[in-house]
């Protein structure tokens, strides 16, 4: 599926034309240059590889640099691949701009959620806990975790306390409410995973994508 890389710039609110307030996440698109193309013949699958976060030459190893030198590209810190048909109209070195997105598109956004550390069962799984007062000694505990000698063990996948966050999450079907070509940024309705400044992958699941105006130019 086609996708681009971006940096979560943060959230704000905008107004729709009929005065309704819309919560939006602002995603600043990365350099979005096609670093290389994988082909079925050579690699066993077809994909485009995009670079994110330009870096100085001295920050990379020779092996990493070779990749960029070969095609005369700028250097990137991070690379991500998106599986695509081989005939997709994007050549190596091509630069993708924000105008591949259109207002009204539904996208999936994937990112690494904020780490929350070791959390109890109420925050982590939304269990209700016990009453706060009236002499209750049962506040934020999980309650019973099983039966008795039959089955004599705790069921698998029992919701228990533990580490929360810092996992890759995809939020599906987020509507694009704004495209800012001059800023290389898009506005997405709702929240996306991660802290401000963290990298997100934006997937655009449109089967007719290759026919869009934006790709005809590049």
């Amino acid at each position: 599926m086609f996708g681009l890389l971006g940096k979560k710039a943060g959230m704000t609110q905008i107004f729709s034309t009929d005065g309704e307030m819309i919560p939006v996440s602002v995603i600043q698109l990365g350099a979005c240059q096609v670093v290389s193309k994988k082909t079925k013949k050579k690699h066993g699958y077809s994909a485009i590889q995009l670079g994110f976060l330009p870096v100085k030459e001295k920050k990379l190893s020779k092996a990493e640099l070779g990749k960029f030198k070969k095609n005369n590209l700028s250097n990137y810190k991070l690379l991500r691949e998106f599986r695509l048909e081989e005939n997709f109209p994007l050549a190596e070195g091509a630069q993708v701009t924000a105008n591949v997105f259109q207002v009204g598109d539904m996208v999936n956004v994937r990112g690494l959620t904020k780490g929350r550390g070791f959390q109890g069962v109420m925050k982590r799984h939304g269990k209700h806990g016990g009453p706060a007062s009236h002499g209750s000694d049962f506040h934020r505990r999980p309650g019973s975790i099983g039966m008795r000698t039959q089955p004599g063990r705790v069921n698998k996948n029992m919701k228990m306390p533990g580490h929360m966050g810092d996992e890759t999450v995809t939020i599906r079907n987020l509507e694009i409410v704004g495209v800012r070509v001059e800023d290389q940024a898009i506005l997405v309705k709702g929240a996306v995973p991660g802290s401000r400044g963290s990298m997100v992958e934006i997937y655009l699941p449109d089967p007719k994508l290759a026919q869009r105006e934006a790709f005809k130019v590049s």
């Binding site: 943060g10 905008i14 602002v26």
Partner: protein, 129 residues
């Protein structure tokens, strides 16, 4: 300027009267959607409090309607506000006039500050000159 700040600035309304304060009497001309037609309704009352903060700013207006107190919170920068008129400036000593909720009739009046009003007029005249 950061990207978020830039987007916020574009979404702010610049046509609203300056110097809205708690205690002011205002007339809010708000657009109301009925089917596919717009209608303008006027809500007139006293500004109880202003919640500041970029695009998310809002203000609360209280009025008494047939003896029943009615409060409405308006998003300050919403396009659903057609026009905002400051009818008179009030002299108050608090940022949040929640004490008005307990009062009614004569006790709920607010002393109007004529000096401020004339100041504003003078400023506006100076600005347009």
């Amino acid at each position: 300027m950061g990207l978020i700040e830039k987007i916020n600035q574009e979404n702010l309304r610049k046509d609203l009267p300056k110097g809205l304060r708690p205690g002011d009497s205002v007339r809010v001309h708000c657009r109301i959607r009925e089917g596919d037609k717009d209608r303008i309704q006027i809500f007139e009352g006293i500004v109880l409090q202003i919640h500041r903060g970029s695009v998310g700013a809002s203000f609360t207006v209280r009025k008494s309607s047939y003896g029943v107190g009615v409060e409405r919170v308006f998003p300050l920068h919403s396009p659903s506000i057609d026009r905002l008129e400051i009818v008179s400036k009030g002299r108050v000593r608090r940022a949040r006039l929640t004490y008005l909720r307990k009062l009614s009739g004569k006790a709920a009046r607010i002393e109007s500050e004529r000096n401020i009003t004339s100041d504003v007029v003078v400023e506006e005249a100076a600005a347009s000159a």
